[in-house]
């Protein structure tokens, strides 16, 4: 394994420290854990967008301009864009296309790719770890009825990679979590998360059964390869292909393959509501997001997957910025929740707040008083997910009850 922050391990790649006005990413320059007040803040662009049609591209263009333009971020750079294609590609809520409910809409991906290319990106890699699968991302898209040509024709040098396994890489790359991490001290990830200058997270505005909400940060939960972190990962070395999902991270039912760092505290709670937010916070600290985009034009309430409690909704918003915590804080507020809320309060009734944890890791602030919102005012575009959704009884996610006791030793 190469260690992305350890010199002398064959790491001659570009700096991860550039771009986006992020606070310095070197471990020594990060705020100390718990110093939330010092967490950085960058402006967040918020726009109303009523459809995925012609108005989408100009809206995104304007948002990126409001943020200072994409050119300063991506010109002559390799960009990796993690999109949110969670679950089965052929599942729909009724007859509604999956991009209008659970997945990042293809038009948002294509428009972003186009604008990245127009801003001078040298290469754009679209990344996802399709559920329990090593199939090419393009194939996964085809199964959803998408034409991956709409992305390759949106800009020059567009590539795809399934990051749920080794993919095109020769080895996994180690990403230490600054300050040691909350759940894991480091992650071993597909090479694409290292072989880029700029990392973009394009999430979907959704509620989440385990983590309360899923926006640009939770989108990064899917960068963990199931060949190491998933059900069926071999005991010692990474598997050739993923054999299962990320239940072990949710439940702590087992540790990653021994080649990769185990979690920090094997006696910590084996509850998804404790573990998933910490894992996500660790991930966005270890693999910083330089550009975060939330597709909230159309979505669904009631959770990430399609079920009886889900309802198609149309918040008609887009959120974007260079700090993933700030972007998600604004997104949380747009959904009708208080980004300062914590366990016990909606949307975190049964989980810890990923926003708080990432803030405490110094990734960014969730305090709206410290975030400059450009474009629309939050109050003007709030779309209350709980009011719009079915009145469901919220209970501890079933899989938390299934969690097995921690391993000894």
């Amino acid at each position: 394994m190469r260690n992305i922050q350890t010199p002398g391990c064959g790491m001659t790649r570009r700096s991860l420290l550039a771009n986006a006005g992020m606070a310095a990413l070197g471990a020594g320059l990060l705020p100390r854990v718990g110093k939330a007040v010092e967490a950085p803040s960058t402006p967040v662009a918020l726009a109303r967008c009523r459809s995925y049609d012609a108005e989408l591209l100009p809206t995104l263009t304007k948002m990126f301009d409001q943020m200072g333009g994409l050119g300063r971020l991506v010109k002559d750079k390799t960009v990796a864009a993690k999109v949110n294609l969670t679950g089965n590609p052929d599942s729909r809520l009724g007859f509604i296309p999956i991009g209008c409910t659970t997945w990042t809409h293809p038009a948002v991906i294509a428009a972003t790719v186009h604008l990245l290319g127009r801003a001078g990106a040298r290469r754009i890699r679209i990344l996802e770890s399709p559920w329990q699968s090593a199939e090419p991302v393009q194939e996964f898209m085809t199964a959803a009825g998408w034409n991956s040509g709409m992305f390759t024709s949106a800009a020059a040098n567009v590539e795809f990679e399934n990051t749920n396994f080794l993919g095109y890489g020769k080895r996994y790359i180690r990403f230490p979590v600054p300050h040691g991490g909350l759940l894991f001290p480091a992650f071993d990830l597909n090479h694409s998360y290292a072989d880029c200058d700029v990392f973009v997270s394009i999430g979907k505005m959704k509620e989440h059964q385990t983590a309360g909400i899923t926006l640009s940060m939770k989108n990064c939960f899917g960068i963990t390869p199931c060949t190491i972190y998933g059900d069926g990962a071999p005991e010692d070395e990474p598997g050739l292909v993923p054999l299962g999902g990320r239940f072990p991270i949710h439940a702590g039912s087992r540790q990653p393959s021994k080649c990769s760092p185990p979690e920090i505290d094997l006696k910590s709670p084996r509850q998804g509501g404790y573990r998933v937010p910490r894992c996500v916070a660790d991930l966005v600290a270890a693999r910083p997001v330089h550009l975060a985009i939330i597709d909230g034009i159309e979505s669904q309430t009631g959770g990430e997957g399609i079920g009886l409690d889900t309802r198609h909704v149309t918040p008609h918003v887009l959120v974007a910025g260079t700090n993933t915590v700030c972007v998600d804080a604004v997104g949380t507020a747009v959904m009708g929740f208080d980004p300062m809320a914590d366990r016990g309060t909606a949307p975190f009734e049964f989980c810890d707040s990923t926003l708080r944890l990432a803030e405490e890791l110094g990734v960014g602030t969730r305090d709206l008083k410290r975030i400059e919102v450009i474009g629309e005012r939050i109050a003007d575009v709030v779309f209350d997910y709980r009011k719009a959704g079915f009145p469901i009884q919220r209970t501890v996610p079933a899989h938390d009850w299934l969690a097995t006791p921690p391993r000894k030793g």
Binding site: G145, Y168, G245
Partner: protein, 421 residues
């Protein structure tokens, strides 16, 4: 013929009344002499009566393909169903993809049809002891799984029906009429069985000897992935028709004959994709290495086509099926389905290629709602057929994200979609 296995305990000729107006016209007896009264009455009523021992029935591996028998009779098969979990009632076993684990005899029927192309295929299976619910649904699915595969199930009753029907039990009669309705539906549409099975991959194997497990499981698991395939049996050269296939998997580890090798090379050169095991990589070396997005394969150009050679030995047919699906790609699929995880698809085209038939066998007990179908090619009309409904329902296309889709009304167990261009 539509066969029915006459229960040994049924000795009353009067029970033939159950078959009045039904499509069942062939009764299979354990012993003709032992059921003489019934046999005589049946023959007098126009039924064909056959003795089981004369059918040459046996498990797939024991079938004599060159037998002069008028039909191929295969027994020892599985009851088609979603496999229930050992964890408890209501749980469903899932495969490595998370998709429900489905038992089906489709692949057996397809293989048999290739090996003995001019003989009807009769399949034999009955409810096991672990099958706690044997209502109409189980029987309709049993009929449909066989018929959609071009075969005929030899209707075999469970204990409840064997005892309940002679006694006039209302529930038993209800289930019985469901079985007859399903049989009648497929008899009415018998012409569909003659339509050509379409596939994006030809699966080439001897399906026997040391290649039996990998070859047969590949057929089974390809269907489980809804990867449409054509069976190509090395032992039956007439079946090795490669025309029109985008890709061919050579699944066996021993080399093909010189003639077959030349045929495969001639298939790949103009643009086909040939997938071969590691042991045969040297036989089809190809030219330039091409980037391959599927782990465990080296892809090389081969004329205008390509050869994907495994870089490791195949030991698990499930992963081989997944690899093959990824190598072939979905771009060749004639249609895309949504909300169809527990549906098995059977796709065929009529001889003039102006109509295509998509048959969906639904293994879940709940109704299938919000299933949509997006044909890859333009079409002029579409009609949906369901068991028990007389006339087909015309479907109006719906434009979704720039392409035409068909949104199917809710259905249970089975539907057929005839699309005309």
């Amino acid at each position: 013929m539509v066969p029915f296995r006459w229960p040994s305990a049924w000795s009353e000729p009067a029970l033939l009344r159950l078959f009045a107006g039904s499509p069942i016209n062939c009764l299979l007896f354990e012993s003709l002499s032992g059921a003489k009264a019934v046999v005589d009455a049946a023959r007098a009523a126009g039924f064909t009566a056959l003795e089981w021992s004369e059918l040459g029935a046996g498990p797939l591996a024991q079938v004599k393909w060159d037998s002069p028998a008028p039909q191929t009779v295969i027994t020892g098969l599985v009851w088609p169903r979603i496999k229930m979990s050992a964890h408890g009632l209501g749980d469903v076993d899932a495969g490595p993809t998370g998709a429900p684990w489905i038992d089906s005899n489709s692949w057996v029927a397809r293989l048999a049809a290739v090996r003995a192309p001019h003989r009807p295929v009769w399949l034999g299976f009955e409810l096991g002891n672990d099958h706690t619910i044997a209502g109409s649904a189980s029987y309709i699915i049993a009929v449909a799984d066989s018929a959609a595969s071009g075969a005929q199930w030899m209707v075999t009753l469970d204990d409840n029906l064997r005892e309940g029907l002679p006694a006039g039990n209302a529930n038993a009669l209800k289930t019985w009429h469901s079985i007859l309705d399903a049989l009648a539906f497929f008899e009415k549409h018998r012409q569909w069985a003659a339509w050509d099975r379409w596939g994006s991959i030809g699966i080439l194997s001897s399906f026997a000897g040391k290649d039996e497990f990998m070859g047969q499981e590949m057929l089974n698991l390809a269907a489980r992935r809804n990867l449409l395939y054509r069976v190509l049996d090395r032992s039956f050269p007439a079946s090795c028709k490669l025309e029109g296939l985008p890709a061919v998997l050579y699944a066996d580890s021993d080399p093909p004959s010189a003639e077959l090798k030349a045929q495969l090379a001639a298939f790949a050169r103009p643009g086909g994709l040939l997938i071969v095991p590691r042991a045969l990589a040297a036989l089809f070396q190809g030219e330039k290495t091409v980037p391959c997005s599927v782990a465990g394969y080296e892809l090389r150009s081969f004329g205008r086509g390509s050869v994907a050679a495994a870089t490791r030995d195949w030991d698990d047919p499930y992963f081989l099926a997944a690899d093959v699906h990824n190598l072939v790609g979905r771009r060749n699929d004639p249609l895309t389905l949504f909300n169809a995880a527990s549906l098995w698809r059977h796709y065929s085209v009529n001889p003039d290629s102006r109509a295509a038939l998509l048959q969906l066998v639904a293994f879940a007990s709940r109704p299938n709602e919000s299933v949509s179908v997006a044909p890859a090619r333009p079409f002029r009309s579409a009609a949906m057929y369901t068991i028990g409904r007389g006339a087909p329902v015309p479907l109006e296309p719906v434009k979704v994200e720039g392409r035409m889709e068909l949104h199917l009304p809710a259905f249970s167990f089975y539907t057929a979609l005839e699309v005309r261009s």
